[in-house]
Amino acid sequence: MSKDTAIERRERRVGRGADVPASWGLGEGQAIPWEYASAPEARDIVDIKPRYGLFVGGKEIAPRSGEWFTTIDPSTEEPLAEIARANAADVDHAVGVARRAFRRSWGDLPGAERAKYLFRIARILQERSREFAVLESLNSGKPIKESRDVDVPLSAAHFWYYAGWADKLDYAFPGRVAKPLGVAAQVIPWNFPLLMLSWKIAPALAAGNTVILKPASSTPLTALLFADVCRQADLPPGVVNIVTGPGEIGMSLVRHPDVDKVAFTGSTAVGKLIGKAVAGTDKALTLELGGKAANIVFDDAPLDQAIEGIVNGIFFNQGEVCCAGSRLFVQENIAEPLVAKLKDRLSTLRVGDPLDKNTDVGAINNAAQLAKIEELVESGVAEGAEIFQPACELPERGFFFRPTLFTGVAQSHRIAQEEIFGPVLSVLTFRTPDEAVEKANNTPYGLSAGVWTEKGSRIFAIVKRMRAGVVWANTFNRFDPTSPFGGYKESGFGREGGMHGMHAYVRLEDR
């Protein structure tokens, strides 16, 4: 293929990948001493304890199980700390504590008082933002520039936002009285550990619920640091409880009869299990599950910025994002130049140490996920799609995967159907707007989508027909606490963020 030759030529010349002159097939570059400094964020800002117990009733307690497990840094596979492995008795205890806190202190507290605590938490998150950012990158593998510029500021923003609702619930639902549900069981994934915690805890507390949060087993550390924030904010004991352990602990939490509300973010498979477990009870349920988002680029789009949006859409957080733009639909008449630009841009991505400020793509969160990505990429090659990977150097240790692009993908390929949850983009083409919409909607998921065009009328026409919870126009992966987020179809139900997010944590009664 002629379009590959410029890139191949460059790779031969420079010999190695990402920290290499990006010369865009622009002739023989001179040899220049241009290197980005490894600019690691100082690790010592976080004080990681050797062992973390469960956070129940405002204090750290040893697990009744007497068992512990190790959490690691996915970029080096080095152990970071020992974490308590809760059992069913621990869960039962935590639910009891949360129930008492709901009855005795939190449920009846005036909204303005609850708001004070939430504002305080938001402020502390901002004050300790560097600590949270470094710990998040250490434990999850995401690049520090993302944890620093996205995860932590957005987490604080969610607390600020929902703090504002706490004393205005009487006006949020006109003619109705909003009452808290009671005890909320919240199970969150490993891709955005602190941010998902904030999406869950902030609205729950604002509405007057108490919570038991189960962080993902591979990323418990920022949740446990958040426990420290709760203490620092003088939050009444038992309002926020954090239990750690494997997936089955999440299930026993969800199944617990004294839980009033279940909120889950994670895979569609687990979401279905939770749906079954909750069926027939009077527990309120919201699920935010997988996705296979379509990013549609029309021929009048701002191409160079669309490239940035596509890259951000699929390589943000190594593609481990439920709303990642993993299917790229390009109008056929611009497919060739767009793919060429995209390959050039991929070759400039810097993969490596998550704590380095110049890193664009960090480590995959865990070995099982890496194996899943590898398996799906192999299936893509086997099914006949054409693979492109830049020749960047990967660190020897740690769970890393090259940014990957597939062209010549058909709707029937597994890589176009299944959620990969990794830095892998499938490129498909379309000829007309109708075809774009039809193909984009042709998936069991429906969490997000993107449209790139200069034509405003086309944006509205397409957006109306997309079966996806969020549709971005001329941008991607943009989040705000005021904006509801959630899915269609197998991507789940219920909304988080905005007033819609508040609705999921209240019981509306007639005045």
């Binding site: 002159p21 220049i32 009048d300 701002p302």
Partner: protein
């Protein structure tokens, strides 16, 4: 490279592969842009630029940090890329001579510091500059075509260009006719650049777009392509007389246009941000964006220049600091 959305536009770009074919390009521009008609304006169909996206990209590149050795190299390069500029009504032969001395030896105490790329001045001072720079590698760049507004008759602009070249200017910095551009008369802008290029003879032509007056990134991209099609050797952001002058996002838009133009035609055009670049940190940020967008082939004074009057001393101060670990006061660097 594949056909872009607009086939006829491609034809123009392809046609400019050699100078002889420029007539054909001219014909096509005339066909499409001469008068408003049912086909609309060809240049109205240039790939658009998204303001939010381009500013976000520029912002993310500005947060890169480079190694100390690379920084020293970049600072040295920044001096070699500088068009040391004075464009004031009060410029005198004495001022020009002082500036030329500074340009040849930016730091008299350190012979390892390179000379700047060029001295940029008004046409009437070219003979003085040429004389003062005799025997050095520093070029003389002259603004022309009724700088900075460009609001005069074409004959006068061409005469001014020819006079400046005759007086010894190696490079001509012309301004485009923004009035014509904004009223949609792209043909007038194109023709004028072609004629000034002819008047330049062997002198290099830098085309100032005055991005602060074009305002939108779409206009900047259109004007960049127009200038390159018409034969510009460099596209330059600003006169320095209009705010805002050079900004990183505007320069990024021009770099992206240069990249597309090169990939389609094989002709390399340089870029010169000018105005408002005062600190070593600014200069390095521009170089990071340049590296990430056009790569090492563009990291030379033949393809990238800074138009600046006060940048050099801050760069010298940083070089001194990197070498000695201490900052010196401003009085340790000469003001010319």
């Amino acid at each position: 490279m594949a056909p872009a959305p607009c086939q006829a536009y491609d034809a123009i770009v392809t046609a400019t592969r050699d100078v002889a074919a420029r007539d054909r390009a001219h014909e096509l521009v005339q066909l499409w842009d001469g008068r408003p008609g049912p086909l609309g304006s060809l240049l109205g169909r240039v790939t658009p630029v998204d303001q939010v996206g381009v500013e976000e990209r520029a912002g993310s590149l500005m947060r890169r940090s480079i190694k100390r050795e690379s920084k020293l190299w970049a600072l040295d390069l920044a001096i070699r890329m500088t068009d040391l500029t004075t464009l004031e009504g009060k410029d005198t032969p004495g001022k020009i001579r002082a500036l030329c001395a500074k340009g040849i030896h930016p730091d008299p105490s350190d012979p390892a510091i390179p000379s700047v790329a060029a001295i940029c001045c008004y046409p009437s001072l070219v003979p003085e500059a040429k004389d003062a720079l005799k025997g050095s590698s520093v070029k003389v760049a002259s603004v022309a075509t009724a700088f900075p507004s460009g609001q005069t008759f074409l004959d006068i602009k061409l005469a001014e260009t020819r006079e400046a070249v005759a007086a010894g200017a190696d490079e001509i910095d012309m301004v485009i006719d923004r009035g014509a551009f904004l009223s949609g008369d792209y043909l007038a802008v194109f023709d004028e650049i072609v004629k000034v290029k002819e008047a330049c003879g062997d002198a290099h032509l830098k085309v100032i777009l005055e991005t602060g007056e074009l305002e939108t990134y779409d206009n900047v991209r259109k004007a960049s392509l127009l200038a390159m099609l018409a034969g510009a050797d460099f596209v330059k952001t600003s006169t320095g007389k209009v705010q805002p002058a050079a900004t990183i996002p505007v320069t990024l838009v021009m770099m992206l246009a240069v990249r597309d133009f090169f990939q389609q035609t094989g002709r390399a055009v340089g870029i010169k941000p000018a105005g408002g670049i005062r600190t070593a940190k600014d200069a390095i940020q521009y170089l990071v964006v340049l590296y990430e967008t056009l790569g090492p082939a563009w990291m030379t004074a033949d393809r990238f220049r800074f138009g600046a009057s006060t940048l050099v001393n801050d760069v010298l101060m940083q070089i001194h600091k990197e070498r000695s670990g201490r900052y010196s006061g401003a009085d340790y660097f000469t003001i010319d």
